[in-house]
Amino acid sequence: MNSIIFRTVSRLLMGLMLLFSLFLLWRGHNEPGGGFIGGLVAAAGLVVYGLADGPKSMRLILRADPGAIALTGLLIAVIAGLMPVVGGSDFLTGLWLFIGATPTDKGLALGTPLLFDIGVYLAVVGGVVGMVIAIEESL
């Protein structure tokens, strides 16, 4: 798998997949997608890249320890759940902020569930990539 073409293509593919994964993450609350799927797509992109360039390059791209990314994802999810608690609501209750809301249209809805989903995304990316790197490196 040392061909330059495959490496270039894989890099391109990875970029596209990362972008697509973010798109999936963003729209997941209303359309098929979400943190899991987005995370899996992103991870798949990175894995494809890693297959072409070796696990070391995956580490380089990530810049951080994949385990730490995964746990940060978990941390974000917990924080998203705890934010409403500060306001006296139950753990994991959705808090929403509507930007540019009009009586007919809710506008841009930002809420803790979205943050939660970002945590999920990070955890899945970090987790899957971490596993793949570890297995690749041990071979």
Binding site: H29, L40, V47, G73, L114, G127, L139
Partner: protein
């Protein structure tokens, strides 16, 4: 348990023991006047257990024995173990044991009684195993623990049942409700359970064998626990429950028969010994048998004989054990054949031995004589089997005379010791004061028995009979049958003593062909338990994962199928949904792929087929409207196939032989097919049952207006059931960390 200050331990224990003894003596007046001292504090009311203590006549008798002998023994120990490094430990244990014993005889709550009962078991376990680096001591300790501990467990059930029947946990109230207990259906069972407890503790046949083995303990411990106090706990229990459970034929015959067997057998065994301590140990068993025998009857004079003999025995036996300790201490041996003529070198010890030995033999004017006369009187008064009991008592007494004579004459009066006589010195004062007092007590109370009778024996007897009674003891009560029997006893005993070598040889000859002994049975059952344990465990836990899994799936198939068949699960096929043609096609494909995975010897083919199954599942999800799930499944499937393909290149090829032999193959296949059938059937049955969709409907209704999301599945994941997702995220993160740890953290040299 400090090693550093044995003296401190000794002094504290001794002072406490003295104080306790003094307190008990001070209570004698009140108790003998019929006023029991009572102390009650709640402990665990829910389970009926309270810290209830009651000091009545019977308890008093025991308390005095325990505390006063305790003081003497502790004093003795301080001399005996003067330079031993573990003296402090031993003194603490003795003191702890004394407290447990006192608690046992004063407890007025049956559960509290049991608590102390077990505490005496444990402390005696530690005391028997005091010489713990000696294997024999450990074995004896375990034996004592298992026998008395096991008996304790049985006793507990008996006590609980008795309490259940009588409706009270108070011993004093339980004792008073004998009529209820005796007429209850479970009376025999309760009796049996309690007797097992008492018999194990008091070394009655067939549990007698632990007591001689327990002689692995140091002499003072043997003197205290295994003659004077702990073994009497069972006797105490019998005496205490005599009014509640006694007075029936079952009680009478059980106690008489077991007591008689124990007494006669033990005295035979005693004659056979050459080790002085073992000789005494067996006579202790004999004495316990006699006590049991006399507690069987509810005739007043029999109970009186038991109570008196209890005291007699405590005095002389404790003294004799300590005497033997002295002999051992001075000469370094306890073998009767190597000893002789110690009178000249150990005059004080010899004096004690003579006094205690004569009391044991039942010579006047010692208390032993009164005890013996009472025994014969009691035996003859028992209505049931007077002659049998008298004969048993006669045999036992005669052999006791022989043993006593052997100790007194062989060891102290006649012959010469074979050890180096120059080095033998009389023991220090702390080692003869105790036994001397005990022996003197035997003489003094023999001459003036009335003091003892009025203040100690009479109140105790009143409790055993549960009615007021007056006791008058005297050395001389005319020429009568008991006296005649006494003469006969002495005659037989003397003959046995004179012919002891012959008797011993005969007994050994006879016993060498005797097939069953308690000790052998005990050992065999332990060994067999261990063998059984190994066999069972090796069978179950064979180390083979495939066997484990086979068992698990077999249990699964068999139990589910059994329940399915016995419960006749109905299936209603009337409301089937349609099968989309595409789904049918996918299903067929998947079935084919599954078969390929299952049977293919090629790894690559297997992985491809596995991928097909996974993708098929994804397509099925898609067909039935689960787009998010389908995408996830596809992604996961892809990642997994990539991973497994990468890993598999490093793993060896399938070796074949996955289901060894035709039998293994058929067995595995039938289990697999069974699992398939079972799961398939349940899935169909559940699929056909109507489903309550109200929760889904709520999600559909609330998703957009309340949770602001149109993708219901995603809203469920991040809002309605976000806690699941949180856990799941944790699983993914930890799985990654686990994989990383698995491949990066390599074993260290075991840090030890």
């Amino acid at each position: 348990m400090s090693n550093h200050s044995p003296r401190a331990g000794f002094l504290v224990g001794l002072l406490c023991a003295v104080a306790l003894s003094a307190w008990f003596i001070a209570q004698v007046g009140a108790v003998s006047a019929g006023n029991a001292t009572v102390f009650i504090v709640d402990w665990v009311p829910r389970l009926g257990i309270e810290l209830a203590f009651r000091l009545d006549g019977l308890s008093m008798l025991f308390c005095l024995l325990i505390s006063i002998i305790g003081v003497l023994v502790m004093l003795y120990t301080s001399g005996y173990f003067r330079t031993h490094r573990d003296q402090g430990r031993l003194q603490w244990l003795l003191f702890a044991f004394m407290l447990a014993m006192l608690g046992l005889v004063t407890a007025d709550n049956i559960l509290l009684l049991f608590v102390f009962w077990e505490l005496t078991t444990i402390t005696s376990f530690l005391l028997v195993g005091f010489d713990h680096e000696n294997r024999k001591a450990r074995r004896a300790a375990l034996q004592a623990l298992l026998i008395t501990g096991g008996g304790g467990l049985v006793l507990l059930v008996g006590l609980l049942m008795a309490a259940d029947i009588a409706g009270t946990y108070r011993v004093s109230e339980l004792v008073a409700s004998g009529d209820v207990l005796r007429s209850h259906d479970s009376y025999e069972l309760v009796l049996a359970l309690i007797l097992v407890g008492a018999f194990t503790k008091s070394a009655q046949f067939p549990f007698h064998f632990w007591l001689p083995n327990a002689m692995a303990a140091p002499s003072p411990v043997s003197a205290y626990l295994h003659s004077a106090t702990m073994v009497k706990a069972g006797i105490y229990l019998l005496a205490r429950f005599q009014p509640a459970l006694g007075g029936t034929e079952v009680w009478f015959y059980t106690l008489s028969i077991f007591g008689a067997i124990t007494a006669v057998w033990a005295s035979l065994m005693a004659l056979r010994q050459t080790d002085l301590k073992l000789m005494l140990a067996w006579t202790t068993v004999m004495a316990l048998g006699t006590l049991t025998l006399f507690l069987g009857s509810d005739v007043r004079i029999a109970a009186l004989a038991a109570m008196t003999f209890l005291l007699v025995h405590a005095f002389y036996k404790c003294a004799l054990f300590l005497v033997i300790g002295n002999v051992d201490y001075s000469t370094g041996t306890r073998e009767i054949d190597r000893l002789g003529g110690l009178m000249r070198v150990l005059p004080i010890t010899a004096l004690i031995a003579i006094a205690a030995g004569f009391s044991m033999a039942g010579f006047p004017p010692f208390l032993g004589f009164i005890g013996k006369e009472l025994k014969y009187e009691g035996a003859l008064a028992i209505a049931g089997e007077p002659y049998l009991i008298a004969a048993a008592a006669l045999a036992a007494n005669a052999m006791m005379v022989a043993v006593a004579l052997a100790i007194v004459i062989r060891v102290f009066l006649k012959g010469k010791t074979q050890t180096d006589r120059e080095k033998i010195r009389e023991v220090p004062w702390s080692m003869w004061v105790g036994p001397l007092l005990l022996a003197a007590a035997g003489l003094f109370t023999g001459i003036f028995p009335d003091m003892l009778a009025k203040s100690i024996i009479q109140p105790a007897l009143s409790e055993v009979l549960l009615r007021e009674t007056t006791v008058k003891l005297s050395l001389w009560h005319g020429i009568n049958v008991p006296l005649a029997l006494s003469v006969v006893t002495v005659a037989i005993g003397t003959v046995l003593f004179l012919k002891s070598a012959l008797v011993r040889a005969r007994l050994n000859q006879w016993l060498s062909v005797w097939p069953i002994t308690g000790d052998r049975t005990y050992q065999a059952s332990l060994v067999n338990t261990e063998r059984l344990a190994q066999r069972v465990t090796d069978r179950i836990q064979s180390g083979s994962l495939s066997q484990y899994l086979t068992i698990i799936f077999t249990v699964f198939v068999v139990s589910v199928a059994a329940v399915w068949v016995t419960h006749r699960v109905p299936m209603n096929f009337s409301e089937l949904t349609d099968v989309p043609p595409l789904a049918l096609l996918i299903c067929v494909l998947m079935v084919g792929a599954t078969i390929v995975v299952a049977v293919s010897p090629s790894r690559l083919l297997s992985i491809c087929a596995l991928g097909i199954v996974g993708s098929g599942v994804a397509i099925l999800f898609l067909i039935f409207g689960a787009i998010d799930v389908a995408i996830t499944q596809l992604m996961v499937e892809t990642l997994f196939v990539v991973l497994i393909a990468a890993v598999m290149l490093k793993l060896p090829k399938f070796p074949g032989q996955e289901h060894p032999g035709a039998v293994g193959g058929v067995r595995d296949a039938s289990i697999a097919i069974g699992c398939g059938v079972v799961v398939g059937a349940i899935t169909i049955a559940v699929g056909l049952s109507p489903l309550d969709l109200s929760i889904t409907e709520f999600y559909e209704a609330a998703s957009l207006p309340q949770a602001y999301g149109a993708n219901i599945v995603n809203v469920i994941l991040v809002d309605f059931r976000a806690l699941d997702t949180l856990g799941e995220v944790a699983v993914v993160a930890i799985a990654a960390l686990a994989v990383i740890a698995l491949v990066t953290v390599r074993p260290q040299r075991r840090s030890s």
